[in-house]
C-alpha cells in the first residue's frame, strides 16, 4: 500500500465524523435560517431573508447584541489585566508551584454550571457570602437590572482568568534572567524593566489569550443561562441565550438558527483575526 492511500485511510474516519457532525450542521444551520421551521406544528416553508430582516428591527436582538458586546468587552479586558498581574505575582514562586497551579486552575476546570450555581449562592440576598462581607446588607445582585450584568461578568472573570494567567506565566518563565541583569546594569529596574523587557515579550501571548477569550466569551452560554437565565428583564440576555430560547422554548428552529448564524459570523471574524495574528507573529519571529 502506498503512503498516499494509507494517509487517506487514516484520515477518512475523522473526516467522515467531522463532515457529518460539524461541517454538515454548520451548513444546515444556514439553510435553516432561511426557513420557517416549527416542528411541533409541522410548519416547514421557505422564509428567505425574512428572519434577518426581522432581526434588523428587533429591539430584543439589539439588546442581546449589546449585552453580548458589553459582556465580552468587559470580561476579556478584566481577564487579561488580572491574568497578567497574577502571572507576574506567580513568577517568583519557588516553592509550592504545583499547589499554586492547582488552586489557580481549579476555577478554570470546573463545569461552568457549577460556577453558575456557586455564584448564585454567593450572590443570594439573605444567605450569600457577598452580602455578608459587605456588612450584612441584602442587596439583590442578580435581581437588580443594573447589578446583574456586572455580577455575571465577575463570575466569568473568576472562571476564565486562570487561563490567561497560565499562558502569561508560561511565557514569563522563558524570559532569561540575564536580560533583567543587563537592564539593571543599564539602570533600568522596576517599571522600566517591565516596559523594556517583560511587556514586549509577553504582549504577543497576551494578544493570543485575548483573542481566545474573545472567542469563548462570544459563544458563552452556560454561565448566564444558569446564573440569571438572561434576566432580569433581559439585562443579561446574550445572543446565545436569545438563540436558545427561540430554538427550544418557542421552538422556532428557523428564527433561532438565524441568531445562531449571527453568533457564528462574529466568532468567525475573531477566528480569522486570530489566524492573521498567528501568521504575522510567525513571520516576525
Amino acid at each position: 500500500m502506498t503512503d498516499h492511500r494509507l494517509a487517506w485511510i487514516l484520515l477518512a474516519p475523522a473526516l467522515a465524523v467531522l463532515g457529518g457532525l460539524t461541517v454538515y450542521p454548520a451548513l444546515w444551520v444556514l439553510w435553516l435560517s432561511f426557513q420557517y421551521r416549527v416542528p411541533v406544528f409541522s410548519i416547514s416553508r421557505w422564509a428567505g431573508l425574512d428572519h434577518y430582516a426581522f432581526l434588523a428591527v428587533d429591539t430584543r436582538f439589539w439588546n442581546a447584541a449589546w449585552v453580548t458586546g458589553v459582556f465580552t468587552g468587559c470580561s476579556v479586558a478584566l481577564e487579561c489585566g488580572l491574568g497578567l498581574a497574577m502571572a507576574l505575582a506567580l513568577r517568583g514562586q519557588s516553592r509550592g508551584r504545583r499547589v499554586a497551579l492547582a488552586l489557580l486552575l481549579l476555577a478554570w476546570a470546573l463545569p461552568s454550571v457549577v460556577t453558575a450555581k456557586m455564584f448564585e449562592w454567593l450572590y443570594h440576598p439573605a444567605g450569600g457570602l457577598v452580602n455578608f462581607l459587605v456588612g450584612g446588607r441584602t442587596i439583590n445582585w442578580l435581581g437588580d437590572p443594573d447589578l446583574a450584568l456586572p455580577a455575571l461578568i465577575a463570575a466569568d472573570v473568576w472562571r476564565a482568568t486562570p487561563f490567561v494567567t497560565l499562558l502569561c506565566f508560561a511565557r514569563l518563565l522563558t524570559i532569561p534572567a540575564d536580560l533583567y541583569e543587563a537592564a539593571q546594569v543599564d539602570g533600568a529596574a522596576g517599571l522600566q524593566a517591565f516596559a523594556r523587557i517583560t511587556w514586549p515579550l509577553v504582549r504577543p501571548i497576551l494578544l493570543v489569550a485575548l483573542l481566545f477569550r474573545t472567542l469563548d466569551a462570544l459563544r458563552a452560554f452556560d454561565i448566564m443561562f444558569v446564573l440569571t437565565g438572561g434576566g432580569p428583564a433581559g439585562a443579561t440576555e446574550t445572543l446565545t441565550v436569545y438563540a436558545y430560547r427561540a430554538l427550544f422554548q418557542t421552538l422556532q428552529m428557523g428564527f433561532g438558527s438565524a441568531i445562531g448564524v449571527v453568533v457564528f459570523a462574529f466568532v468567525m471574524v475573531v477566528a480569522v483575526a486570530y489566524l492573521w495574528v498567528i501568521n504575522r507573529q510567525d513571520q516576525t519571529a
Binding site: 481549579l106 454550571v113 449562592w121 493570543v208
Partner: protein, 271 residues
C-alpha cells in the same frame, strides 16, 4: 531566603483566597440547613453529611454521574481514537491539501455550539437518537475531534523521525511503526489531549441540555441546572451536588496537572 519564603506563602494564601468561592461551596455542602438562611455567622457551629445523603438517596444525581462518566469516557475515546490516526497521517504521510485540512481543523475548534445545536437536534431526532448516550457521545466527540487532532499532530511531529526510520529498516510496516513506535512515544501528548477532551465532555452543558429528555441520558451539569426544589431552593443539596460534579476536574488539576498544562499551552500556541 526568608523573604522569599514569606513571599511564596503570601502568594499561596492569595491563590487560596482566589479559590475561596469553591471552598465556600464545599463548606455550604456540609452546613446544616438551619445555618444556611439567613447567613448570620461565617463558620458553621457543626458539620453534617445530610446534604450528601439527600443527593445520593433522593436525587437523580447518582444516575447522572454514571451517565456523565460513561459519555465523557466514550466521547474521549472516539475523539482520541480517530484523532490519533488522522494526526499521524497529517504529521508524517504525504497528504494533498494538508494545510487546508489543518486550517479547517482550527476553524472547527472555533465553531460556536449554539450555531450547530439546532441541526444536531434535528439530526439526532431524525436518527431516533434523542435522549441516548450515543447522541451525546457523537456530539461531544465530534466537537473535540478538531482540537485533539491538531494537538496530536503537533506532538507526533516532535518525535524524532530517526526512531521511526529505524523501525522501518528493521522491517516494520507503517501501521506497525504507528502502533509500536509512534503511539508509545506520543503517550504523554495523547494523555494531554484526552484530558482536555474528557474535561470538555464532563463540563458540556448546551448539547446535553438540548439532546436529553430524561434521566436515561441526563448528565451531571443538566441534573445540577434542573436540581429540583419543592418550595424552597435546597442550597445545601445543590452545594453537595456541585461538589460531586467537581470531583473529576479536581482530580485532573491535582493529579494530572502536568498533562493538563501541557495540553492547554500547546492548544493555545498553535504554531
Amino acid at each position: 531566603m526568608r523573604a522569599s519564603r514569606v513571599r511564596d506563602g503570601l502568594v499561596l494564601l492569595a491563590l487560596a483566597g482566589y479559590a475561596a468561592p469553591f471552598f465556600w461551596q464545599a463548606m455550604t455542602s456540609l452546613r446544616p440547613d438551619t445555618e444556611l438562611l439567613p447567613l448570620t455567622h461565617l463558620w458553621p457551629t457543626r458539620l453534617t453529611l445530610s446534604h450528601y445523603d439527600v443527593v445520593f438517596r433522593q436525587s437523580l444525581m447518582p444516575r447522572a454521574l454514571v451517565n456523565s462518566l460513561g459519555i465523557a469516557l466514550l466521547s474521549t475515546l472516539l475523539a482520541v481514537g480517530l484523532g490519533a490516526l488522522a494526526a499521524y497521517a497529517l504529521a508524517r504521510l504525504p497528504v494533498r491539501g494538508r494545510s487546508l485540512i489543518l486550517l479547517a481543523m482550527i476553524a472547527a475548534t472555533a465553531f460556536p455550539q449554539i450555531a450547530t445545536v439546532s441541526p444536531l437536534y434535528l439530526l439526532m431526532r431524525a436518527l431516533g437518537l434523542r435522549d441516548t448516550w450515543l447522541a451525546l457521545i457523537l456530539a461531544n466527540g465530534s466537537f473535540t475531534l478538531p482540537l485533539v487532532t491538531w494537538l496530536l499532530a503537533g506532538f507526533i511531529r516532535e518525535i524524532p523521525r530517526a526512531l521511526e526510520e529505524a523501525a522501518v529498516v528493521d522491517g516494520a510496516g507503517r501501521l506497525a511503526t504507528l502502533r509500536w513506535v509512534v503511539l508509545p512515544l506520543a503517550a504523554p501528548g495523547i494523555a494531554s489531549a484526552a484530558l482536555l477532551a474528557f474535561l470538555f465532555s464532563w463540563n458540556e452543558f448546551l448539547f446535553a441540555y438540548s439532546l436529553t429528555a430524561t434521566e436515561a441520558s441526563r448528565t451531571v451539569p443538566v441534573a445540577l441546572a434542573l436540581f429540583p426544589g419543592v418550595f424552597e431552593v435546597p442550597w445545601g443539596d445543590i452545594a453537595a451536588a456541585s461538589l460531586l460534579a467537581s470531583l473529576p476536574p479536581i482530580l485532573i488539576v491535582v493529579g494530572f496537572q502536568r498533562y493538563l498544562v501541557r495540553g492547554l499551552l500547546a492548544g493555545a500556541l498553535r504554531e
